[in-house]
Symmetry: C2
Subunit: 305 residues, 2 copies
């Protein structure tokens, strides 16, 4: 496994390929490419499309192999069945990281889960960190980067809150609401199915991110509970984490399962995890959030010095 | 001389290089490049800049020679002194046409006029048609092209009026006003110093342009009066021309001279030319316009059948 520091290729790439960029109005491939282009990204973005000569006025390349250089990040917006081949191509070209936006993986059943496993294995084979699949993408408002590698309709304001969401739709709604209120973000990460990069990787990365003062998590499931406890314990020594856990009610759990293929754990288990790691464990499926300030680290809510 | 049909490379290029594109806020090089990029140009645009790796997120090339292909059009936004060398480079690369936006030519005096002559000769040597120098650029609202190769702050609405203006500022003001009134344009051409492409070339081109129903001219001087008479006579057989002549009063003539280096002719001479060619010849320096419908061709105003 690479070090957490390598997530820089995901969040602050110098160059990007959008594989599946297109001129088709209303398509995700168009939204992602123009979001990178129109939000004044400071690096270089290349559209990859086997048919079109140019995408949004920018010279396009038939495949990742045809690019004049390798890239730090490939954003993948092609049908699920093609993602393994594209991942292999990226690995061979020396691409450093992936955001797989395409859906049709674990969240659609067993065949999708097998495909997802195949993609994750290929990413690992070529030492590429991967966000997704089945995600909205990522955003970095740092003026040195200015990257909206998502199909969110709006670039959030610059701010000091980092927000990792297991729901792309909820993430976008929060960005829209926050923009209206004048609230900004340092980073936004739609984690999707978390086939590789999960909440633990992101927390590690955000702990070291100078532009992030507060971390906001929207969780439907946790990949590795024990590691999560350790990570949160460590991260909250530096900055507060606000965690919102969904899928507590049977209906909520069902919605979460159909959403990203997550199995929502029992409310009690999450409460225990969050308490153990220094966050209070309240977790209704709606919006209750619990904050944990570094100065209160490792004490249960209500406990005094 | 090339045929008028070759102006297609200027108005409907498949590929463009912006030489002098930059990331610098408030610069003309940035405005021109982003105007092409953000108005959904259907071709491919390449930024050329010797320092920056990318311009507005798009891979940049140190010189025109480094482009992966030749281009139909080069838009030149570099200091006047460098324009001859850039023109020669474009010629050698096989570029088909030029828009020279840079100022500092005939309008600044004798040295500028010599430089302009040098640039025009080089363009002719390589059979490149050239708009400018000292111009705002051109616009084509045709959905098959969608090109704003200017530093006008606004892309006009689509419409059937073609507008050729010898004043960039007046052209931009008219576009702004027309947009507010819901009036659209087929083409906009800021002719600048008319070192090569002049009103006669443009009238020939617009006569054959299926998207143009009416031609609007704002003139400060006419390059070749006899040819203008012939051209207007021929063009008005197909579509009406509205001509506005500036620089009639001594003050107006002085303003026109300092503007594009044009020598405004006498009011009487222009009246005679416009009358002879079938337009009525009223030409105050402000806004009086005269229309000429094809059905009234070659008759003086007030004349009956």
């Amino acid at each position: 496994m690479l070090q957490a520091g390598d997530l820089d290729a995901l969040f602050a790439p110098k160059s990007i390929a959008v594989i599946g960029a297109t001129n088709r109005q209303g398509s995700v491939g168009r939204a992602v490419f123009t979001n990178i282009l129109l939000n004044e990204y400071t690096g270089t973005v290349y559209p990859v499309n086997p048919r079109d000569r140019s995408i949004s006025g920018v010279r396009s390349y038939p495949s990742i192999h045809d690019l004049p250089e390798s890239v730090d990040l490939a954003v993948v917006v092609v049908p699920a069945a093609v993602v393994p081949a594209v991942t292999e191509d990226c690995g061979k070209k020396g691409v450093r990281s992936l955001i797989v936006i395409s859906a049709g993986f674990k969240e659609v059943g067993q065949d999708g889960a097998a495909l997802e496993h195949q993609v994750a294995s290929l990413a690992q084979k070529y030492s590429m960190r991967m966000v997704g699949p089945n995600c909205l993408g990522t955003i970095n408002t740092d003026p040195a980067v200015r990257l909206n590698a998502s199909f969110a309709s709006r670039m959030p304001l610059e701010g000091s809150i980092a927000f990792a969401s297991q729901s792309g739709a909820l993430g976008e709604a929060v960005i829209d609401y926050a923009s209206g209120e004048g609230i900004g973000f340092s980073k936004f990460i739609s984690v999707g199915n978390k086939a590789d990069v999960n909440e633990n990787d992101i927390l590690e990365y955000l702990q070291a991110d100078a532009r992030t003062k507060v971390i906001l998590l929207y969780i439907e499931d946790i990949v590795d509970g024990r590691k999560f406890v350790d990570t949160v314990t460590r991260v909250t020594e530096k900055k507060p984490i606000i965690a919102v856990k969904a899928g507590v009610s049977p209906e909520g759990a069902k919605a979460a399962a159909s959403h990203t293929g997550a199995l929502a754990g029992s409310d009690e288990a999450y409460n225990a995890i969050l308490k153990q790691s220094g966050s209070s464990g309240s977790s209704p499926s709606s919006t209750c959030s619990t904050t944990h300030e570094p100065s209160q680290n490792n004490r249960f809510p209500g406990e005094t010095e």
